[in-house]
Symmetry: C2
Subunit: 433 residues, 2 copies
């Protein structure tokens, strides 16, 4: 039978040990940082009722679901994002829990996207959320976790930039520009696409679809393109809703400064986030050269928990995918060496010594070391080759004459240095170094 | 909208943080032990082509697959076991790899089983395999990993028993009893069920289905029920195939002794393992009281890689599920305390001090500590309550008078002991302890 009959599905990844070691490197940083910020890990099922995503996740996602009918006639879907599962779990449990709730997760997510270069159909995503706190302190804490996660992986403000905005501020600006509340959704839709369409097209759509005057559309577009916070305050300072939103936003930026991440932040009103459920501050993190898709995106979603039948709890969080991030780390040469490595390889000269060798392996393993030995009789040369393949730091040679004297030769594989050690004291002697 | 609209699927688990901490406890032991035995971690996709399981996994599994047609018209299935994925990955990559290959994984697996108490539709499974070595050293090494994983979780030979057999030995015994090779599959089928059906029924089936004489069936059944290795040698010692299989099996037991696990082992010819692909030594690990389903099962499968189009490589491995294991650990009270815990909670008296508090949080986190602080202004009493909820070991109180003097009060939450520390030296002073 040809192996091609059993190729893995397009858009899915195998993780052989070297690839798995890189995944563990990224997951390790994510977990360490989340715990430093006092977040606790959770998980949910990779398969959920289909209805959990319909209406809440936005049309784009629903059109890309791995959805099917299970053997019990239930409409189910492989999870395309984690937040609906989080909302579902909390809807059941949050009432008894002290707030705020600080949870993180690293789920694998699935979307049937059209096959393109670099686009996969699964990825792992670091999800970090604070639930039950409406103030900007929670927003700042969550973005700090995202940026500290990147910093933990060796990325600084020259490598990644956090583009932050506030949907409430943008709505207040639209108010200030005379856009009717009924047209806000349309205006948000155009703004979300501003970077991916010609300027003329954006102006045209803002007048056609959001009912703006040409002058107002021009003012808005200029703000989107190069406005800083002072520009917003100068232009709309006398509009109370804008002033209020700005005060909150500036407090947020001040907190990010205090948390040590001010240098990563760019104010950017073009960040809207497609998903329907965001309600306040939103952000996306990109590589500084702007070559890749977003590394991370998130924001405040104060109504989602209520939507799935839970307590009405404010919430803020982000998702950071492993694919773009690992691509960026590779481009910037920040990935670690993932060669195999074991502490000891026990070479066995003559199969009579195998029981002694296995007993030594047991002692070394009990003391916490990693140990390999040949699983069949082999020439010494082959055994040293196997030790190299395993990345052994030291080879312990069990040979008849030495063992009879109660000794073994230990070779340090990097320096080539050898010495003879008493077998009785070998474990303690080696472990003590 | 009622929350019941969004209940999780039956047979699937949510892992809130306390449950997740228990899962991490088990996964942690699995990973540490696998690495001590020089195994490297891999992973594959949770969704695979359906055909990967058809014919190779046995009818029972195929009837329980979460299988569907994806948006591209492909027949796909959520993985019900890991070994076919391992075989697929190695079929593509093994030629370039040094042998033996020592890999482990902890996949989540899916089966649509009929709903019964304690039966789930997903579980996590520790998969450990050695590929490329046919000798019993590999069989012993693999079972030692399984038993050391259980030992790492606090289980000894009084808690769990490994029941080991060899399908080659059983086949040789059947030969010795005059069962034609054509009837071996039928005989194996009866033997696999011996413990779950009345003795009379087994005798009847052995004569009816496997063409055995009543005397031969009686001899076999007695061996299955209480035969030790000496009984086998006494009864069939002059049959060369039995003698050869016994020699190998005894060498295997000797290696397990040398590796320190002899006390866990029971010879038991009734262990056959349902899956079609096993070819040699097989084993199952049970709780010693025999109250639960198998904690672990595995064995040698020398033909599977060839079946999926790869190099013909001998292989041996096991799968250990998290559900039964965690049940057993809970029954025996061997699960750890999983209460939340952070190193520091910073209480903030007066919001003017918030930036100073966040700066201190940053320093402590940079030094590797876990830190929480209130995300809004709160009375001190409430902040201490929050610190308790977070399981804080220490509370650092940032209060106006002390901060003006460059100091903060640090309270040890267990002892209640308080002292005043200089803010400049606080991080170093606390970390140094």
């Amino acid at each position: 039978m040809a192996s091609s009959d059993f190729a893995r599905l397009p858009g899915f990844r195998d993780f052989a040990p070297d690839e798995m070691a890189l995944r563990r490197h990224v997951f390790g940083a994510w977990g360490r940082v989340a715990r430093r910020y006092a977040f606790r890990q959770y998980d949910g099922p990779p398969l959920e009722p289909l209805e959990l995503y319909v209406e809440k996740s936005g049309e784009e996602i629903v059109g890309q679901l791995y959805a099917f009918t299970d053997r019990g006639g239930r409409e189910v879907a492989m999870r395309p994002e984690m937040t609906p599962s989080l909302a579902r779990i909390l809807a059941e449990r949050s009432r008894a829990m002290p707030k705020p709730i600080r949870w993180f997760s690293t789920p694998q997510l699935f979307r049937y996207e059209r096959q393109q270069r670099g686009r996969l159909r699964e990825h792992f995503q670091w999800n970090v959320d604070i639930v039950g706190e409406a103030g900007v302190s929670a927003d700042a804490e969550v973005l700090a976790v995202a940026l500290d996660g990147l910093r933990e992986l060796g990325l600084g403000p020259d490598d990644v930039r956090a583009r932050v905005s506030d949907r409430r501020l943008l709505a207040a600006i639209l108010d200030g520009l005379g856009v009717s509340p009924d047209d806000h959704v349309a205006a948000f839709g155009v703004i979300d696409k501003v970077e991916r369409q010609p300027r003329e097209r954006s102006l045209e759509r803002l007048t056609d679809e959001a009912g703006m005057s040409s002058a107002a559309a021009e003012t808005l577009l200029s703000l989107l393109e190069e406005g800083d916070i002072d520009d917003v305050r100068t232009t709309f300072g006398d509009h109370p809703a804008v002033g209020e939103a700005l005060d909150g936003f500036e407090a947020y930026l001040g907190l990010l400064d205090a948390l040590g991440f001010g240098a990563f932040i760019d104010f950017d009103l073009r960040i809207v986030r497609g998903l329907a459920y965001y309600t306040g501050i939103v952000f996306e993190v990109f590589d500084a050269r702007g070559e890749l898709r977003a590394v991370c995106g998130g924001g405040r979603y104060d109504r989602l928990l209520e939507l799935v039948g839970g307590q009405p709890l404010p919430a803020v969080g982000f998702g950071m995918g492993d694919v773009v991030l690992t691509e960026l780390l590779r481009d910037l040469d920040r990935l670690p060496d993932v060669a195999p490595g074991v502490d000891y390889f026990i070479a066995i000269i003559g199969d009579d010594l195998r029981p002694r060798a296995l007993d030594l392996a047991r002692q070394l393993r009990d003391a916490g070391s990693s140990v390999a030995y040949p699983l069949k009789s082999q020439a010494v040369r082959k055994q040293f080759k196997a030790a190299e393949n395993e990345g052994a730091k030291r080879v312990i040679v069990m040979a008849p004459d030495e063992v009879e004297r109660g000794e073994a030769v230990v070779r340090d594989m990097e320096s080539g240095w050898e010495r003879t050690v008493s077998l009785d004291r070998l474990v303690g002697a080696l472990e003590g170094e």
